[in-house]
C-alpha cells in the first residue's frame, strides 16, 4: 500500500463541483496553503471545481490561501466559527454582497461535529449555544436538570490538511498548534488529502507518537518547505500573483 501522491495537482484532482471540502488550520497555523493554491490553479485552468462548501475555522486572511479560494469565486458556502481576521476583506465583501453563504458554528461545536462525523455519531448534545441565536431551530433536551442543544455530525467529501511527517500508510504527526482541526477532518472526510513536510518510511514515526493513524488518510503529498499564511500576508502576497 502506498498512499503517497506524486504532486499537488494530482492531490486535488478528484474534487468536483458542489463538493464539501474541509480545510485544516486555525488562521494560518496548519493551513494547507499549497493544496489550496493547487486547487485554485485547477479552477483557473479548467473552471472547476466551483460551488464548493468549505469547512474551516475561519474565512481567510488577506489574499492567499482560503481567502484566495473565496476570491477566485470557488466557494458557495462557508461553515466556520470566526470569519474575521487581520484582513478579512475578501470574505466580508462576498458575504455582504450575498455571494457566499455562511453557517456560523461555535468553535467547540464545530470541532465536535467534525469528530462526530468521523466517529459515526450522527448527533450529540452540548450546552454550547443554548438560549442563543445559534441554537435557533435546533432540538433542545434536558439532562440531569440542565438544557442542552442537539447538534448533528459534519462530514465532507474531501479534507485538505497540513501535517508535519507522514508515512506511505498515511500515519501522520503534526507540528505544534498546527494540529488543531487536522486530525478531526481526516476522520470526517471520505477522502483526506494531506500535505506533509516529509514523507517517511513506515516505522520512522514512533507508533506511540502517531496522531492520525493511516486509516483516516487517503493521500499524502510532500511539500518540503510549506509557506506560512502569516509570512505571505506580511509580504502583501496575492494568489495568483497575476491578480495583483
Amino acid at each position: 500500500m502506498d498512499k503517497t501522491l506524486p504532486d499537488l495537482a494530482s492531490a486535488v484532482a478528484g474534487i468536483e463541483d458542489g463538493m464539501s471540502v474541509m480545510i485544516g488550520g486555525f488562521g494560518g497555523s496548519g493551513s494547507p496553503i499549497e493544496l489550496i493554491h493547487a486547487l485554485i490553479d485547477r479552477f483557473l485552468a479548467t473552471g472547476h471545481p466551483k460551488n464548493l462548501t468549505v469547512v474551516n475555522n475561519n474565512a481567510g486572511n488577506g489574499h492567499v490561501g482560503l481567502a484566495a479560494l473565496i476570491e477566485a469565486g470557488m466557494v458557495a458556502k462557508l461553515i466556520c466559527s470566526f470569519p474575521r481576521s487581520a484582513d478579512p476583506v475578501v470574505f466580508t465583501e462576498r458575504y455582504q454582497a450575498g455571494e457566499i453563504a455562511l453557517e456560523l458554528v461555535p468553535q467547540g461545536t464545530l470541532a465536535e461535529r467534525i469528530r462526530a462525523g468521523g466517529a459515526g455519531i450522527p448527533a450529540f448534545y452540548t450546552p454550547t449555544s443554548y438560549g442563543t441565536d445559534l441554537a435557533a431551530g435546533k432540538p433542545v433536551e434536558e439532562f440531569d436538570g440542565r438544557p442542552y442543544v442537539q447538534e448533528r455530525w459534519l462530514k465532507a467529501d474531501y479534507a485538505l490538511v497540513k501535517a508535519h511527517r507522514g508515512d506511505r500508510l498515511g500515519n501522520l504527526t503534526y507540528r505544534m498548534a498546527a494540529r488543531n482541526f487536522g486530525p478531526l477532518m481526516c476522520m470526517a472526510a471520505k477522502t483526506a488529502i494531506v500535505q506533509v513536510s516529509a514523507v517517511v518510511e513506515p516505522g520512522a514515526i514512533d507508533p506511540e507518537a502517531v496522531v492520525t493513524p493511516g486509516i483516516f488518510v487517503q493521500g499524502v503529498v510532500e511539500v518540503a518547505n510549506p509557506v506560512q499564511e502569516e509570512d505571505l500576508n506580511r509580504a502583501n502576497a496575492r494568489y495568483p500573483e497575476a491578480a495583483a
Binding site: 466517529a119 513506515p202 486509516i215
Partner: protein, 221 residues
C-alpha cells in the same frame, strides 16, 4: 463433506483486497490473517487500540502491554499506530474499516446476526461485536452451516438475542458462500459434491440464485 474451520478462514481471506483495513473477531476469524493471498497485504485493526500490528511473538517473548482484542500477544511492525479506545471505535463506528469478519451463532436472511448471547443463563458478554457490525463496509461471518446436531444456523429469523439488525453482507459457511441481498440469501458458491436441494435442506430460509453458483473450493490445510 465440509470445509474445516481453517479452510473457511482461507476462503474468507481470498476476498480481502490489498490494502484493506480489516478487523477479525476473536477466535476462529483470527485465522484469516494467516491466509492473505500473495501480493496482498491487509492492515489489521484490533479494538483495544492497535492498527497494523504483526504476528504473534514466539512463546516467552510476549509483551503483555501489546495484545489484541482476544488478549493474545501480538507484535508491532513498521507503520503500527497506537490509540485509545474512543479513537479505536471511531474507526469502527465511523465506517473506516473495509471488512469485519465475525463468528456467528445464527444469521437471518434479513442480515440480522446473533453472536453474543446464547440466552439468559450464564454471564452475558458483548465486547465490541455490536459496534463492529455497524462499522465496516463489509460485515462477513464465518460459521458452521448447521449446529452440532444438524439444525440450521442460517435462518428466516434469528431465535437468539441479536447482535445487530440487517448488518451481515456475506456468510462463509462450512458448506457455502452466501450473500445477503435485500433480505434474501443469495448463493454464490457451494461444495462441488453438494446439490442445491441438499444445501437448502440444511438452511432455514430460501436460498436464491441470481447467476451461476460456483464450486466452493479450498486447499487442504
Amino acid at each position: 463433506m465440509r470445509l474445516t474451520p481453517t479452510q473457511m478462514a482461507w476462503r474468507a481471506a481470498q476476498d480481502i483486497e490489498d490494502g484493506a483495513y480489516v478487523n477479525l473477531g476473536i477466535g476462529l476469524p483470527e485465522k484469516v490473517a494467516q491466509f492473505q493471498p500473495p501480493g496482498r497485504q491487509a492492515i489489521f485493526h484490533t479494538e483495544n487500540g492497535v492498527l497494523g500490528f504483526g504476528e504473534a511473538p514466539p512463546a516467552g517473548q510476549e509483551d503483555w502491554d501489546l495484545i489484541n482484542a482476544g488478549k493474545k500477544a501480538v507484535t508491532i511492525k513498521p507503520g503500527t499506530a497506537f490509540f485509545h479506545h474512543a479513537d479505536s471505535f471511531a474507526m469502527v463506528r465511523g465506517g473506516h474499516l473495509d471488512v469485519a469478519i465475525l463468528g456467528a451463532y445464527e444469521v437471518a436472511e434479513t442480515g440480522d446476526l446473533a453472536n453474543w448471547s446464547t440466552g439468559p443463563r450464564g454471564v452475558p458478554a458483548v465486547g465490541g461485536a455490536m459496534d463492529l457490525v455497524h462499522g465496516a463496509k463489509r460485515v462477513a461471518v464465518m460459521m458452521d452451516h448447521v449446529t452440532k446436531d444438524g439444525k440450521p444456523k442460517l435462518l428466516h429469523r434469528c431465535t437468539l438475542p441479536l447482535t445487530g439488525v440487517g448488518c451481515v453482507t456475506r456468510i462463509y459457511s462450512s458448506h457455502a458462500v452466501i450473500d445477503i441481498v435485500q433480505g434474501s440469501f443469495v448463493l454464490r458458491e457451494k461444495l462441488a459434491g453438494l446439490t442445491l436441494e441438499a444445501l437448502q435442506a440444511m438452511t432455514g430460509a430460501t436460498l436464491h440464485t441470481d447467476g451461476p453458483v460456483a464450486d466452493l473450493i479450498a486447499p487442504e490445510l
